[in-house]
């Protein structure tokens, strides 16, 4: 946190600005106090070297008055912010602790209060208490309370929902300690951001009240009241108004910079800075794949802007009508590989490949949008997030068909109903008029498959299509995919972390580890547990099944995969591999064909060498 703070120039600038104003607030009355108060006959003077902002109706120097007003203004802002923070956080924490009923009522009260404009609330307070420094502070402080209260309850609720809080309750930690140990430390940073925002808001509001003449009253004066007086003579002499205006802008800016800087530091994702587009050498095409392959990825890499390869030169091909499985653990790059083939990588990632094609669509170039949309169908992981929640299903399902297939709305709807029925979605006509959230998860995924198949794609890419589903629904969805493959000959690329899911419907499997392919093998061998690569073997041994022996523990893989930015020079699996020798750490093993599969492992060559030695 501290490092992030130091790295934010906005925050540093803001803090420096604020420090300057604080120093000014302390020393100004001693330096300019006399000039600010002394009445002279030099009234309404224009700005000059003598009087930087001119003089007012009583001949007092406005620059001096502006400087001296800093102290009162800052003190008022401070008091206001303190009232808002203490009152708001206290109220928020209190209704959070008080239990669900009080909380619901309290939140509703906050909602009402927060929507009432603070200036008008302040005017009411002035009407009751009469204008003055105290009234302004109390009024603006109270008006800012609801914002703090709302943030406190929202944050506390989000933290309280986390498992470590409920666990602490079970451990017998008292509510007060819960608040102090677990909740407040975890919400301190956003509250700090709000604190700086509240300071800026107070400055605006307090000056505003004084400017309207209902805030600070003579003989006291703050920036707002100095500006108020300046406005009167603005036609003759702009500086009495311009000067205080500039000071208020600068102070507001300092507060704003602090708030922005803090917010960025608290939420590193928002302030993340990355150099864009590190240079990556283009790969030259060498056609080393079967000519009849439907989809080809040749030395495909997926690259971060800083040059880190999340996927590192993977090559594979999908034959027409084939169901290819892509299996790997989180961070293996399997989904990115699939999204590169779908030309749907996130905006900050980039695919580089010798060849990347589906059918005769060259994905390295700029393929026509309509063919991309219709020839590649995609089924996403989370059916609850992959449909637009604000649009009805009908429009979403038929959109590709209507946009690219030159199909009328009616015809598209008819086809959608047929396809939904084929995917065994109940009441297909009715579904078109429903919103996604009105369907169950399983129904949504069926609808997603129907949507993907609606344009009769050549290749269906299914990215973890069953991970979010129950096991019985998973079996049905896998059945649907296999059915589409057998009925229409649609080739499928199925991505999954689950060896069982891959085994269920694939013809061939590609195993990925740390952004690279370590092995490809026909599915029969995977099912039989006959893999060559130590990683694949370890993965199979770690996977519990319904018939693996239960009396011995599953073998686990010690350590964890390397970060893509620090992938070792040699085999990425070497640090965790029981067979690894020095060669594995130094040399990158290449994918080499061994019988019915291909494996990237030095150990396979040793066997031969060892045998030769024996012979």
């Amino acid at each position: 946190m501290m490092q992030q703070l130091r790295r934010s120039p906005a925050l540093m600038l803001g803090l420096a600005g604020l420090a300057l104003f604080v120093v000014l607030g302390i020393i100004a009355p001693y330096i300019w106090g006399d000039r600010a108060e002394t009445l002279t006959d030099q009234t309404h003077l224009a700005a000059s070297a003598e009087h930087w902002f001119g003089t007012d109706a009583l001949g007092r120097d406005i620059f001096a008055r502006t400087m001296v007003a800093t102290r009162l203004t800052l003190l008022m802002c401070l008091a206001t912010t303190a009232i808002a923070a203490v009152g708001g956080i206290g109220f928020g924490a209190a209704i959070w602790v008080a239990g669900p009923r009080v909380r619901a009522l309290g939140q509703r009260v906050i909602d009402v209060l927060i929507s009432y404009p603070s200036v008008i609330f302040a005017l009411v307070m002035v009407a009751v208490l009469g204008p003055g420094v105290g009234t302004s502070i109390v009024a603006i402080g109270l008006a800012t309370c609801p914002a703090f209260a709302r943030l406190t309850t929202n944050l506390a609720a989000s933290i309280a929902g986390r498992d470590f809080v409920s666990t602490a309750r079970l451990l017998g930690v008292s509510p007060a300690r819960l608040l102090r140990r677990h909740i407040l430390p975890n919400i301190a940073e956003p509250l700090l951001v709000l604190l700086s925002v509240a300071f800026t808001i107070s400055l605006k509001a307090l000056s505003g009240l004084s400017f309207l003449g209902v805030g600070v009253q003579a003989p006291d004066y703050d920036w707002g009241s100095v500006l108020n007086k300046g406005l009167e003579g603005i036609y003759l002499n702009p500086w009495p108004a311009l000067g205080p205006s500039l000071v208020i802008i600068l102070a507001g800016l300092a507060g704003g910079l602090i708030g922005d800087g803090l917010a960025a530091a608290v939420n590193p994702a928002a302030g993340r800075r990355r150099g864009y587009r590190a240079k990556v050498e283009a790969v030259t095409a060498v056609p080393s794949y079967d000519e009849d392959a439907l989809a080809v990825a040749d030395r495909l890499s997926v690259v971060l802007p800083d040059g880190t390869r999340l996927v590192d030169e993977v090559s594979f091909a999908i034959k027409p009508g084939e169901v290819l499985g892509l299996v790997g653990e989180s961070g293996s790059g399997k989904s990115l590989t699939a999204m590169a083939l779908a030309k749907l990588l996130p905006d900050d990632l980039r695919a580089v490949a010798g060849t990347l094609k589906v059918g005769d669509l060259d994905l390295n170039g700029k393929p026509p949008a309509s063919r991309l949309a219709t020839e590649i169908g995609i089924v996403y992981q989370d059916p609850s997030a992959s449909f637009n929640p604000t649009l009805k299903l009908g429009g979403q399902l038929t959109e590709a068909l209507r946009t690219h297939g030159r199909t009328s709305k009616k015809a598209a709807a008819r086809q959608a109903v047929d396809q939904l029925a084929a995917a065994r979605v109940t009441l297909p006509e009715q579904r078109l008029k429903q919103y996604p959230h009105e369907l169950s998860g399983g129904m949504r995924q069926r609808a997603m498959i129907a949507s993907a198949l609606l344009t009769s794609p050549k290749l269906l890419i299914a990215d973890e299509p069953t991970t979010a589903l129950d096991v019985t629904v998973q079996a049905e969805v896998l059945g649907l995919l296999r059915e589409a493959n057998e009925r229409d000959g649609t080739a499928i690329l199925l991505i999954s972390h689950d060896v069982g899911v891959i085994s269920a419907i694939c013809d061939r499997v590609v195993v990925m580890y740390a952004g690279r392919i370590v092995e490809t093998l026909p599915i029969e061998r995977l099912r039989a547990g006959d893999a060559d690569h130590p990683y694949t073997q370890a993965l199979l041994a770690a996977t519990p099944t319904l018939h693996s022996p239960v009396d011995e523990p599953l073998s686990s893989i010690p350590g964890r995969p390397p970060h893509p930015a620090s992938r070792p020079a040699g085999c990425a699996f070497a640090p965790r591999c029981p067979l690894a020798r020095q060669q594995c750490h130094d040399e990158l093993p290449l994918l080499a064909v061994h019988g019915t599969g291909a494996t990237a492992c030095h150990a396979l060559t040793w066997d031969k060498q060892d045998e030769e030695v024996v012979a």
């Binding site: 404009p117 200036v119 505003g208 309207l212 500006l227 702009p238 704003g256 749907l344 009715q430 959230h437």
Partner: protein, 343 residues
């Protein structure tokens, strides 16, 4: 073993999977509107009690304060009687609330006119600039924020990003009254392009609206930009991109509705804040609306007028919130659930 098996149900055929039973489609609107109307009634009661209390809470003798420091004892007593301050509190409240029900907001001390008439004269002026300001603020900030978010997605165009962030930070932090002062200085006095005050001509609206909208536009544009960036990273946007739509369709049809839900939730506050800003801006430009009305009344301690205007502004803010939530509901029906109660 048997100890484990307490009393499982006798085996029976499994129920048809839950997924196959369609949920009944019932509109959430009646429940939502009913709940909100009830909430609205609650807020109205709160507002009425609040404005009633303005006079009651004046420290010391309210009649004395209302009459002013120089008033004679007889004048104070007359005001006490006129305003019913000598009545029991409950009677005062029922009189006040009863009057409100009949549309009687009381009578101004200073002008002797009914408060309702004063409001009727001034409301159109405030409504003019406030409504225009809301429309302009939304019409400018939403496309601006979206455009910047799209242009800078995934770390592109760092320079534009920095420029947008700094300019909105600077302009957004300028208070309305400072901005108004600067606008007068530049456009009215220096360039003589627009009248500096009054509401005599159409072009006299330009400066007040500018002063009122620039800061909200900056705040909203930043919100829109942030929310757009969040929406663009959503799964359903990737799904939509997978359909290879034209950019305009992708952003307008798929991103905009989702973005408005989150933007309006935050933006609602900015928009109600405009009502407060209007008071200040009216003061600077001598705009004959509710804001100058209430300030004028404050100076003259004209409590019936203060109460009337404050009540009206409160009702307006509440209605604006309701409007925001209705729009939210139209954009995203899910937002209607669980929101029925708040006003």
């Amino acid at each position: 073993m048997e100890t484990l098996i307490a009393s499982p149900k006798a085996p029976e055929p499994p129920e048809p999977s839950k997924a196959f039973t369609p949920k009944t489609v019932r509109s959430p609107w009646p429940r939502f509107l009913l709940g909100r109307l009830a909430g609205l009634a609650g807020v109205l009661v709160m507002l009425i009690v609040g404005t009633f209390l303005i006079v009651q809470l004046i420290p010391g003798d309210p009649a004395q304060v209302m009459a002013g420091p120089d008033a004679s004892q007889a004048q104070v007593e007359r005001i006490r009687q006129e305003q019913g301050l000598d009545q029991p509190l409950f009677t005062q409240f029922t009189d006040y609330a009863g009057g409100l029900l009949e549309g009687d907001l009381g009578t101004s001390f200073s002008s002797g006119l009914p408060v309702s008439e004063i409001i009727a004269n001034r409301l159109p002026f405030t409504a003019q600039i406030a409504l225009l300001a809301v429309v302009i603020a939304l019409a400018v900030s939403v496309p601006l924020g979206m455009a910047v978010a799209v242009a800078c997605r995934g770390g592109r165009r760092k320079a534009l990003d920095t420029a947008f962030t700094s300019v909105t930070a600077v302009l957004g932090s300028i208070p309305e009254f400072v901005l108004a002062t600067l606008l007068i200085m530049f456009f009215a006095i220096k360039l003589n392009m627009f009248p500096p005050s009054g509401a005599a001509t159409l072009d006299s609206m330009v400066l007040p609206i500018l002063a009122l909208t620039i800061a909200p536009i900056c705040t909203l544009a930043r919100v829109v930009r942030r929310e757009t960036a969040a929406v663009l990273s959503m799964d359903y946007m990737r799904t939509a991109k997978g359909r290879r739509l034209k950019a305009l369709r992708l952003y307008a049809r798929h991103a905009l509705p989702n973005l408005m839900t989150s933007t309006l939730t935050l933006g609602g506050l900015v928009l109600t804040g405009l009502l407060g800003g209007a008071v200040i801006v009216e003061f600077v430009f001598a705009w004959p609306g509710l804001g100058t009305g209430v300030l004028d009344a404050l100076v003259k301690r004209d409590y019936p007028v203060i109460q009337g205007v404050v009540l009206l502004l409160g009702v307006l803010a509440t209605l604006l919130n309701l409007l925001v939530d209705v729009v939210l509901g139209l954009l995203d029906p899910r937002s209607l659930h669980g929101k029925a109660g708040d006003a």
